[in-house]
Amino acid sequence: MPEHAEHTIEVGGARIHYLKGGQGKPLVMLHGAEGGLGWRQYHEQLAESFTVYAPTCPGFGQSERPPWLESFTDLARFSLWLLDALDLPQVTLAGHFIGGWLAAEMAVMSPRTFDHLILIDAAGIQPQDGEIADVFLHGQEGTRQLAYFDPQQVAEYAELFQGKPSKEERDIQTRNQETLVRYCWKPYMFSPSLPGLLGRVHLPTLIIWGQDDRIVPLECGSLYQHALPNARLEIIPQCGNCPPLEKPTECVQLIRNFLT
């Protein structure tokens, strides 16, 4: 079983927390709206083939946020600094939900930094028919109910969400929510210019979507596919917004097939 370890690195005056494990080509996995949830099964599976970096974005979890970093665009710029600090000049970039949006913004800013791009149920593009569900309005519990096709098929659900959180965990949840509001309140979970900007991103791109995503509609997967010149869309049936947690084996297999 691949080992992993916690690290911190200073970037732009802020201490950034990240997990690293596995071996092989480097793959950076950016977390979703709940923040870094630790080293999960999907990390473990990916680490069998890749050196997985799972950073915690500034303002989430144990990662500091420089006071000037307040917008999603600046978050993308900062995250490019992070890759630079980690000495990852050529890397596969993957991200889920807001992490997928972040990956797309980073690819727009610096496409030559990446060899492949993987977007999983990514926010960032405004749907034309539906809406991106308002996770703030639904609240934490309501959002979790929306996030999965069937929580019972999420092997790590109880461990992640059903125990009574410690005071420290509650504080981190509060901090994560504040940070999410800071970056994503308005416009909510999309950048109007992103579809246009993606046209110049020629990276081989894999788009993975849970067929039953009730947060970011599947339509957004198609919009990403249309916006990116070299992308394919893979749909995982009976899966909600979070394939890495709900269908980790299928999700990782798609990534492995794409990259090898």
Partner: protein
């Protein structure tokens, strides 16, 4: 003692079940506006304005209005319009706006202009309170709650400068930028209308108020908690070189008078029955305080302070109502009775809290117009004069008697 009359101007024609069926069972924010009947709304707005005009007749010094959005509990969604009407139809009482929720306005200069007009039309009777608004106001206007306090302070600074610094000049702030600040119409009161700040005791706001010499109006806070909060204000005031007095503090409390204790007790229940959601169907906590709306330190401090008093275990999201009517009345958190009873109970409260401003929340919810008018009529001779005397006896000058 400055005596002002208040009502939330509630919309009344909906049921608790209606509330339970709304998204996340919330009476505010997501309660469908299909429950609103504009014909009834037209009657209610006019009735409430009539009542305010009568409140001036019976001797109140101030007519207090507030503003909330997306809620039937308060129809003052555009409070400044009501204030403008009262500016013209009343002659003596101050028009006390508690207050305009600054963070939700993208153009504070428009607000400065509206308030200046109200001040002039009323011939200098405006008290311009400012608030951060509840979280609901942030939701309803899609204002990022993380920046609520920053926007409050910057909008305040911009409005005060607009009123006091000859234009034109330029403002390049973090949240507001204006090339040419030069509203032509300036307020009648100089250097600007008085500013009062209402709230439930956020420490940051208390300290900010103290530094600005702004009276802080406690909104139905527990009397004992209020003393703790006053200590925060007092300490901050001392740090900038002055000792605050009653003129620096106000206290809002629900007070309903009828001819007999029994009738007042029964009619007063309407405070709770009509304001469905204020206590009976608690609002989701993140509606009233979305992530980032309160500083973590401030929120903890408020909750810790209130937890010591069982009447209001969940101060941010519930209200006194959850404690039950009998207990609420017994503890003077809502004061009901005949005039003698009300005066006696007010003495008990005022002796502890010692405000120079008393906000009298006479009616709300299902308390009807007839009962409200009787309440106001009884106050004219049998309550307000006695409270004024009480203010003198207890040494409680208002901010127009002694500068805060």
């Amino acid at each position: 003692m400055f005596l002002m009359r208040f009502t939330e101007r509630a919309y009344v024609d909906y049921s608790e079940e209606d509330v339970r069926q709304s998204f996340r069972s919330a009476v505010r924010l997501t309660f469908p506006n299909t429950h609103f009947n504009p014909t009834l709304g037209a009657d209610l707005y006019n009735t409430y304005l009539d009542e305010y005009e009568y409140a001036e007749e019976v001797g109140f010094d101030g007519l207090m209005l507030n503003e909330h959005h997306n809620t039937p509990t308060c129809m003052g969604a555009a409070m400044n319009l009501e204030a403008a009407i009262l500016a013209r139809t009343t002659k003596r009482a101050k028009i006390v706006l508690l207050g305009n929720p600054l963070p939700i306005f993208d153009n504070p200069l428009r607000l400065a202009e509206e308030l200046a007009e109200i001040d002039m039309i009323s011939r200098g009777r405006l008290v311009s309170g400012f608030v951060r608004g509840t979280g609901i106001e942030s939701w309803a206007t899609n204002t990022n709650p993380v920046y609520n306090r920053e926007r409050f302070e910057e909008a305040h600074d911009l409005i005060i400068k607009t009123w006091t610094t000859p234009g034109p000049w330029r403002w390049e702030g973090k949240h507001y930028q204006f090339r040419v600040v030069n509203p032509f119409e300036r307020p009648l009161q100089q250097p600007h209308p008085p500013v009062w700040i209402p709230g439930i005791g956020s420490p940051e706001t208390l300290i900010w108020c103290a530094r600005h010499h702004y009276p802080y109006i406690y909104l139905e806070t527990d009397p004992q908690v209020t003393l703790d909060l006053t200590a925060i204000y007092t300490e901050a005031a001392k740090q900038v070189g002055y000792e605050p007095g009653p003129q620096n503090f106000g206290y809002l409390v629900r007070v309903h008078v009828q001819d007999t204790d029994e009738k007042a007790y029964e009619v007063g229940k309407g405070f709770l029955i009509g304001n469905a959601g204020v206590g009976r169907v608690p609002l989701p906590g993140d509606f009233m305080a979305p992530p980032g709306y309160n500083s973590r330190e401030g929120a903890k401090r408020i909750v810790d302070q209130y937890r010591r008093y069982s009447l209001r275990p969940d101060p941010l999201y519930g209200g006194v109502d959850a404690a039950g009517w009998e207990k609420v009345v017994e503890s003077n958190r809502v004061i009901v009775g005949n005039p003698d009873t009300v005066v006696r109970k007010l003495r008990e409260v005022l002796s502890v809290v010692r405000p120079g401003i008393l906000g009298v929340w006479t009616n709300d919810g299902t308390i009807g117009h007839e009962d409200t008018m009787r309440c106001l009529a009884l106050m004219e001779h049998d309550v307000l004069p006695a409270v004024r005397e009480m203010g003198k006896e207890l040494g409680l000058p208002g901010p127009f008697e002694q500068a805060p």
